[in-house]
């Protein structure tokens, strides 16, 4: 279907000037723009990647800052609840609702443990709540562990500390003489899970994760 007129039209258009169709066409300016586009890929790459990189760096920095803050906070105040089976005559000392809850939890935990064979010493239900606060203090050597009487340390188990828990009666040197006055409270800012069990050997504490829970920083409290 190609006719001679197609050729004529082509010739007319080929001989035409750009100014007939686009009077404002600036050849030099267009060339500059083309040159800029040729050089563009690297800059475009940076422009595309830079925002993501910035966000990533910001994220890492923020996470590090918060991580450090968390570490600091976690190191300053930490609470642990401990349960031990001692004489029936020692009364329950849960005063607050949180303490009551802890008591229930520890009772259940102890009850489970009692079901296990070979634990005849622990056959009695928990009679007292032992609370502890953990404060970083590196001066105390690791070997200096709570020097509690045998009958009191047989079944010591540290349980989960709840947030906002107020720990009553704590002292940092584990001797009866250093027990602080009653009604001393420690504010617990967050939840922290650390367990300390004494299932195999009496008077020996088995710390499952010593890094998280250095014994030298363990402050033991006994409710009288």
């Amino acid at each position: 279907m190609k006719t001679h007129t197609d050729q004529e039209i082509r010739e007319i258009m080929e001989n035409a000037s750009v100014s007939e169709f686009l009077p404002g066409f600036d050849e030099a300016q267009t060339w500059k723009e083309i040159q800029r586009r040729i050089q563009k890929p690297a800059s475009v790459w940076y422009k595309k990647v830079l925002p993501y990189a910035a966000v990533l760096i910001m994220g890492v920095l923020i996470s590090q800052i918060f991580g450090k803050l968390y570490e600091q906070k976690a190191g300053t105040v930490m609470s642990l609840s401990a349960v031990r089976n001692i004489d029936r005559n020692i009364p329950m000392t849960a005063n607050t609702v949180a303490e009551m809850k802890d008591t229930v939890v520890t009772k259940l935990a102890s009850a489970k443990r009692l079901k296990k064979p070979g634990k005849t010493i622990l056959s009695e239900s928990p009679k007292a709540i032992v609370r502890a606060a953990l404060v970083p203090e590196t001066q105390i050597p690791l070997t200096q562990e709570p020097d509690l009487p045998k009958e009191q340390t047989r079944s010591v188990e540290l349980l989960v500390a709840t947030p906002q828990l107020q720990v009553k009666h704590y002292y940092d040197v584990l001797e009866p003489a250093d027990v602080p006055a009653a009604n001393t409270y420690v504010h617990i800012p967050r939840k922290r899970i650390i367990r300390l069990t004494n299932k195999r050997k009496e008077q020996d504490y088995v710390v499952k994760n010593p890094e998280q829970f250095p014994l030298r920083n363990f402050f033991y409290a006994i409710d009288k």
Partner: protein
């Protein structure tokens, strides 16, 4: 005292192609100066908007410089043909982006309308361009590819993703529409 010029002058396509292959700015500039006007007119034929056409032409040149290694020189004119094909592809991409659809049409009886086409040949370039711009984008693309790029229906169909018969029908309709418009113009002039 005349200082002898050093290096190629980039007067012919071969020199330009050699220079562009090495990424020389002078060769790239020579290529641009040589073919920019023709490419711009080509782009205007497809997209009608001057500024958009300029953008497409720039993209075509950028693509050409970037992918110059894929060009094979086979004689004078091959560089221009390659560049024109890049520009046409850029125009088609633009049309696709703007949702111009090349609708599949059924095979119709395509008649020759050549006897009245000489009217188009009597117009000047600007008038021809105006008439082409009045065509729907789909018809316009097929018309441009067939008449100006001298592409076969098979090639057009392949480039546009349509069947050969649709290409033929669209060309036929484009010609018919042009005739109608031209006859109206002629009547108005008379």
């Amino acid at each position: 005292m005349n200082i002898p010029l050093k290096g190629p002058l980039y007067t012919d396509e071969f020199e330009i192609a050699q220079g562009c292959l090495k990424g020389l700015a002078a060769a790239q500039n020579a290529l641009y100066k040589k073919y920019a006007p023709a490419l711009l007119i080509l782009c205007i034929r497809y997209v009608s908007n001057g500024e958009e056409a300029r953008e497409i032409m720039m993209d075509a040149f950028v693509n050409c410089y970037k992918h110059f290694k894929s060009f094979q020189y086979v004689g004078e004119g091959s560089l221009q043909a390659w560049l024109r094909r890049i520009a046409v592809n850029q125009c088609l991409m633009f049309l696709r982006k703007n949702n111009v659809r090349f609708l599949e049409l059924g095979e119709r009886h395509v008649e020759s309308v050549a006897e009245q086409e000489d009217v188009l040949a009597q117009l000047n370039a600007r008038e021809i361009m105006l008439r082409i711009h009045e065509l729907p984008p789909g018809y316009r693309a097929v018309f441009n590819m067939y008449v100006f790029e001298e592409m076969q229906h098979k090639e057009i169909a392949s480039a546009l993703g349509i069947s050969e018969s649709t290409s033929k029908t669209q060309l036929y309709k484009a010609r018919l529409l042009l005739q109608k418009k031209l006859s109206t113009t002629k009547e108005n002039i008379l």
